[in-house]
């Protein structure tokens, strides 16, 4: 469970890059890369270490059309947890 006051940020090794060949964003990290869908990009762009998880959920809930806040929260938490498990997102200061 990610604490709501955690301030997620990309791991130093991971860089968000626009891939001009595919037209998608990619997360590039040592020896690997991951193609991101638009909602993943929207979340990662807010993971600067400055915003808390609550603030990120609020910001994306405002943008989400039709989704309830709890649905938005669940999606964000699941995504960030999986990225954290791959050492691509950090919650520590």
């Amino acid at each position: 469970m990610i604490p709501l006051d955690a301030r997620p940020r990309l791991a130093a090794k991971a860089k968000l890059r626009f891939d001009r060949h595919s037209g998608h964003h990619m997360l590039v990290y040592p020896d690997r890369g991951m193609t991101l869908n638009p909602s993943a990009v929207a979340i990662l762009e807010l993971c600067t270490g400055e915003r808390s998880l609550t603030e990120i959920i609020d910001a994306l809930h405002l943008r989400a059309s039709g989704a309830t806040r709890i649905e938005v929260q669940r999606d964000i938490e699941a995504f960030l947890q999986s990225m954290h498990d791959r050492t691509l997102i950090r919650f520590d200061p």
Binding site: A12, H21, P30, D31, D85, T87
Partner: protein, 369 residues
């Protein structure tokens, strides 16, 4: 073969072997055993290669060698690679690194540093690499972190250090590494020359694998612990380079455009040189690169095997160096007709004593500092 007109696969990673020169002489080095030594590519050629690689789809470049720090133009090369939009990794032993030089590289956009560790004791490191002191590595690792860059520690595992996995994990944590790459020796190049001395026993590998898995679990989210299995003890073969000339472009110091670090040791294949024509043309139509693309070249049991799209038939270099044939199934595969050769090497490892075996070293270092 890739008929003219077919689009080649998209490469994602360029492995730029800037030089074969190295202050170390590691007994498992993947550099060629017999290297006649052509002239190294000029600065401008590498710079052109970086932008041509980006245009082909490459997202990241490994600046490696030999020891890339021995290229006096490393700063210029890094600047070009970064300027071309590539994610840049410096793959170094850090033996000749200074803080000042690293700061200059950081300033020019270096994204990631990988430092190799040859041993936890000076005695062990000297035996494996000739010279390599842990305290120099620790200093270099600290500079990487102070300068705000992510750090990978890389350790090649072999019989003499494979029991040190827990200590290596502690070391990685203590220097603030984000990744720890525990790569079992792949028995090609110098490592094949030294196989009897280096190949661990099955129980050593099982233990190390369990230690690495436990460390991975315990440090999830904090340290990425990668354990690269050795072919000789795995049940299935590695998808070597994720397929021949598919996702990686390797360019040797003298400019050969290759599918892997070792391919130019294979006989009868024709390679092209970077700079002599555009990289996109070479990538598409080099006879060597097309030789083992796709599945048409495969023999049985690969040809009808359901794993062929996962492992691509294994490693061509290993197939050749163990059997003398280029297109047979990698003998590391349990289904390979020549699998007995790997089983035999494994049995020799299990029964040989723990005494240190004499090692064959690379020629004396070509650069002294």
């Amino acid at each position: 073969m890739n008929p003219t007109g077919t689009a080649p696969p998209r490469p994602y990673t360029l492995v730029a072997e800037l030089t074969y020169k190295c202050p170390l002489r590691c007994v498992y080095c993947s550099n060629p055993v017999h290297y006649a030594g052509g002239a190294e590519l000029a600065t401008e050629t590498w710079q052109r290669v970086f932008s041509e690689a980006e245009a082909l789809g490459v997202m990241q470049v490994h600046l490696t060698g030999g020891e890339p720090l021995l290229r006096a133009d490393l700063e210029e090369l890094l600047e070009s690679a970064h300027g071309a939009g590539l994610y840049t990794s410096l793959i170094t032993s850090a033996v000749t690194l200074t803080r000042e030089r690293l700061a200059g590289l950081a300033q020019r956009g270096l994204d990631h540093v990988q430092i190799s560790i040859q041993g936890l004791t000076d005695e062990g490191a000297t035996r494996i690499a000739g010279r390599s002191r842990l305290r120099d590595k620790l200093a270099a690792a600290a500079w990487v972190r102070e300068l705000g860059m992510p750090l990978t520690l890389n350790v090649v595992l072999h019989r003499e250090n494979i029991e040190e996995v827990p200590a290596l994990v502690q070391l990685a944590l203590s220097v603030g590494a984000e990744r720890l790459e525990l790569a079992n020796t792949q028995y090609l190049g110098w490592a094949l020359e030294n196989r009897t001395a280096l190949l661990p026993t099955f129980s050593q590998i099982e233990r190390a694998r369990a230690d690495a898995a436990e460390a991975r679990e315990r440090n999830q989210g904090n340290l990425d612990v990668l354990f690269v299995l050795p072919d000789y003890h795995a049940d299935v073969v590695r998808p070597c380079m994720q397929g021949w000339a598919r996702r990686y472009i390797v360019i040797s110091p003298d400019g050969l455009v290759l599918p892997c670090h070792q391919a130019h040791t294979l006989p009868g294949l024709e390679w092209e040189r970077a700079g002599e024509r555009p990289l996109a043309e070479i990538w598409k139509s080099s006879p060597g690169l097309n030789a083992f693309r796709g599945e048409d070249w495969m023999l049985e049991p690969c040809r009808s095997c359901e794993r062929r799209t996962l492992d691509f038939g294994g490693c061509r270099c290993q197939a050749f160096h163990l059997t003398g044939q280029l297109d047979v199934t990698d003998p590391a595969c349990t289904l390979a007709p020549e699998h007995a050769r790997v089983v035999e090497a494994r049995q020799n490892a299990a029964t040989s004593s723990n005494d240190l075996v004499a090692l064959r070293y690379r020629r004396p270092p070509t650069a002294q500092h």
